[in-house]
């Protein structure tokens, strides 16, 4: 019973922190399960994928009903994230866990550095005002595939780079059990010129299928423990739900600073575990 409560509690904390800081839970769940509960890394990645799918499905359904996510763009890119996740799932089983651990430590360090630098996407790429958004985009060709991927008030650019970046995100998702938003959101916003809110919502939509593709490989290869996955996923789901309602009451600057320290410490621990 204690272990079960601890799994639910840790899942809730990871879900809440992830929601408050705009990160998927995977970045936190994998280290929690490996360092906190001594789970083998590959098993922790399998559990993390289940948690990531549960939270992304719930939030993507809201984004779709509120017309924030771009379904056409998301489905076009997720074809490539899912295909890359399939390949990544196979590579994950071919690589030694030590290598996966080192890769994960690198990912944590990267996220910490991005948070320290506080690099925010350009404000001028955010959604246009409602009146402006209703206007058709000048020069858009309704018969062009790429123009049909755009939304109200914006056009999609650099689809080729978007496809390539999506494949990197899919590969990372399958290898490390993360959603891949850390790659997809800046890619869509900065490279494909998609407004930030749409990029975030569309990335969330794509995470589900990407993690599903990888998750199925982990499932059929017996790397998902349902006794661990179910309570952790429920905790993550509940934590993310509560945190999204409390976000406006939390000092995010302080939380961000504390989180960077935690990330750096965790990266060192993961690296030490991988090389020891």
């Amino acid at each position: 019973m204690t272990d079960l409560l601890l799994l639910v509690g840790c899942g809730s904390a990871a879900g809440a922190l992830g929601a408050l800081l705009g990160l998927g839970g995977g970045v936190l769940i994998v280290p929690l399960l490996t360092l906190g509960f001594d789970l083998p890394l590959r098993e922790a990645i399998g559990v993390s994928l289940v948690c990531v799918i549960a939270t992304s499905s719930a939030s993507a359904s809201v984004y779709l009903r509120r017309d924030i996510a771009n379904l056409r763009l998301g489905m076009t890119l997720e074809l490539f994230t899912a295909a890359a996740a399939l390949a990544g799932g196979l590579i994950a089983f071919a690589l030694p866990e030590r290598v996966l651990g080192i890769l994960f430590a690198g990912l944590l360090a990267y996220v910490a550095i991005v948070m320290v630098r506080g690099r925010e996407p350009e404000a001028d790429l955010d959604l246009p005002e409602a009146s402006e958004a209703a206007d058709p985009v000048p020069g858009a060709d309704p018969s062009s595939f790429i123009d049909r991927l755009g939304g109200e008030g914006y056009r999609v650019r650099n689809l080729g780079w978007g496809v390539a970046g999506s494949m990197v995100a899919g590969l990372l998702s399958a290898l490390l059990g993360i959603g891949g938003g850390v790659v997809k959101v800046p890619l869509m916003n900065q490279v494909m010129r998609v407004p930030l809110r749409v990029a975030t919502a569309t990335s969330n939509l794509m995470i589900g299928v990407t993690a599903s593709s990888a998750g199925l490989i982990y499932l059929v290869r017996g790397e998902i423990d349902p006794y661990v996955a179910a309570p952790t996923a429920l905790g993550v789901f509940a934590g993310a739900g509560v945190a999204s309602r409390l976000a406006h009451r939390v000092d995010l600057k302080l939380l961000r600073t504390a989180f960077v320290v935690i990330l750096a410490f965790t990266a060192i621990q993961m690296l030490a575990r991988a090389v020891s």
Partner: protein, 116 residues
């Protein structure tokens, strides 16, 4: 059908599937607690698809947990299937083909997972 209406219908299908899968997981955890199952110490149950029905009927935790985990993993595929139907109804053949290809990749994951 407008794009907004299509998005909302797909969103609704996703919401129903997500809620259903979370309910299955919650039912599994409740049975797990009632049965005194200890995660991390009890042996990890194997997935036997053929035994799932009898495990569910007998209210065995592993049956409900496996069904919940599988439902969670397949929830995004439900969203893609709903998109496929709605894009086909809207005669948007390019997006229908993309949805079909996404479902094929998801299905291929199972084949590749077993085959490797």
């Amino acid at each position: 059908m407008s794009m907004h209406s299509l998005d909302r219908r797909v969103g609704l299908a996703l919401a129903v599937a997500a809620a259903g899968s979370i309910c299955l997981l919650a039912a599994g955890v409740a049975i797990m607690v009632a049965g005194g199952v200890q995660p991390l110490t009890d042996p990890v149950p194997k997935l036997h698809p053929g035994r799932l029905g009898s495990d569910l009927a007998a209210l065995r935790a592993e049956g409900w947990l496996w069904l919940g985990v599988i439902a969670v993993i397949l929830t995004p595929a439900v969203r893609v299937a709903a998109s496929l139907i709605l894009f086909a109804a809207a005669r948007d053949w390019r997006q229908t083909a993309i949805a079909l290809a996404v479902l094929a990749v998801v299905a291929l994951s199972v084949v590749v997972g077993y085959g490797g």
